[in-house]
């Protein structure tokens, strides 16, 4: 299915799900309100004509405040259907003061570690994740290193970091 057909198909099933569409992008994507994500994700995976069986990547983005635009954190999902050979990007834009996103780890087990990485490095909390711990940094690390305003500590457990 082409991107336009995908959007039409999704809108027919879930009219509220697509908040924004970006067909012009190199990898076309849609913005999803976080409340809509669980239902949409289930549709994308289970609808036979969509059949997004594979989660290629789940990542995060930190966007600092610029002008009127507030500081946000994005959770970005890239899906692929091996059967139909079509792709779709999903972006959930979260308020930096309340970076909570529904987990899709139950639908795509791949997302388990990816969501942990996104939590570890950016501090996005995934609601419903089976085991939301840090995955790369040590358990007692402080802060989320890929945030743009992150300040590296001077020492870690008595070892210099400068």
């Amino acid at each position: 299915m082409e991107f336009d057909d995908l959007i039409r198909h999704i809108r027919a099933a879930l009219p509220e799900a697509v908040a924004e569409e970006h067909p012009e992008a190199f990898s076309p994507w849609i913005r999803v309100e976080r409340g809509q994500l669980p239902e949409l994700a289930r549709l994308l995976r289970d609808d036979p004509s969509l059949d997004f069986a594979q989660l290629m990547c789940l990542s995060g983005v930190h966007v600092p405040a610029a002008g009127d635009a507030p500081e946000t954190l994005w959770s970005v999902i890239h899906l692929f259907s091996p059967r139909h050979h079509h792709k779709l990007g999903l972006k959930v834009v979260l308020d930096a003061a309340d970076p909570v996103c529904p987990s899709v780890a139950e639908l795509w087990p791949t997302a388990d570690w990816h969501e942990r990485e996104s939590y570890d490095l950016l501090g996005i909390r995934y609601l419903g994740h089976p085991d939301l711990r840090r995955i790369l940094c040590p358990d007692d690390w402080e802060g989320h290193p890929l945030r743009k305003d992150y300040q590296a500590p001077a020492t870690y457990n008595g070892m210099p970091l400068d």
């Binding site: 790369l136 940094c137 040590p138 290193p145 992150y150 457990n157 070892m159 400068d162």
Partner: protein, 168 residues
């Protein structure tokens, strides 16, 4: 080779100094610890394999436990998460013990020297290093030369820069 050995007359007895004998034994059977941290470990594995063959110098027995190892080859990037483990492993090794810092990351943080929030800027900040091998990564020949230098240090031909020099 001019060895400090004296043959005793009239029997199968040789005389030498205990220091020389012990040092020579250590130098000719340096057992490294089996662990690699990054791409330098690939070169270390190549050094252990047939083409370069560490076994020629008595170092083919990579030990999977620190308690049987003489020499720690820090081959790769030391992250802060790994640093405390490296220190623990070093402390578990029996004396006499030696450390080779292999490659730019272990020497000084390498490409992560400025913006690597999670990388230790040189393994010598947590454990004493005897030999530094430059390179990113160093070729197996460089590791062989580094181990040869370590053997010279053990034989007393070169001053030790690690533990003893630090405590002095």
């Amino acid at each position: 080779m001019n060895l400090p050995i004296e043959r005793h007359e009239g029997g199968n007895i040789i005389l030498t100094s205990a220091e020389w004998l012990v040092n020579e034994a250590i130098a000719r059977s340096l057992w490294p610890m089996t662990f690699g941290l990054a791409c330098c470990a690939i070169e270390m594995m190549a050094a252990g394999a047939g083409r370069f063959d560490l076994a020629r110098f008595g170092s083919e027995v990579f030990r999977p436990t620190p308690r049987q190892a003489d020499c720690m080859i820090v081959a790769g990037t030391v992250t802060m998460k790994m640093a405390s483990r490296v220190k623990l492993l070093y402390e578990q090794m029996p004396e006499p013990k030696f450390v080779i810092s292999m490659g730019s990351c272990a020497n000084c943080g390498g490409p992560y020297w400025q913006h690597g929030y999670h990388v230790l800027k040189g393994v010598d900040r947590i454990i004493p290093v005897d030999v530094y091998i430059p390179g990113c990564p160093p070729r197996p020949e460089a590791l062989l030369e580094g181990m040869e230098l370590l053997r010279d240090i053990i034989r007393g031909k070169k001053p030790r820069q690690g533990a003893e020099a630090r405590s002095a």
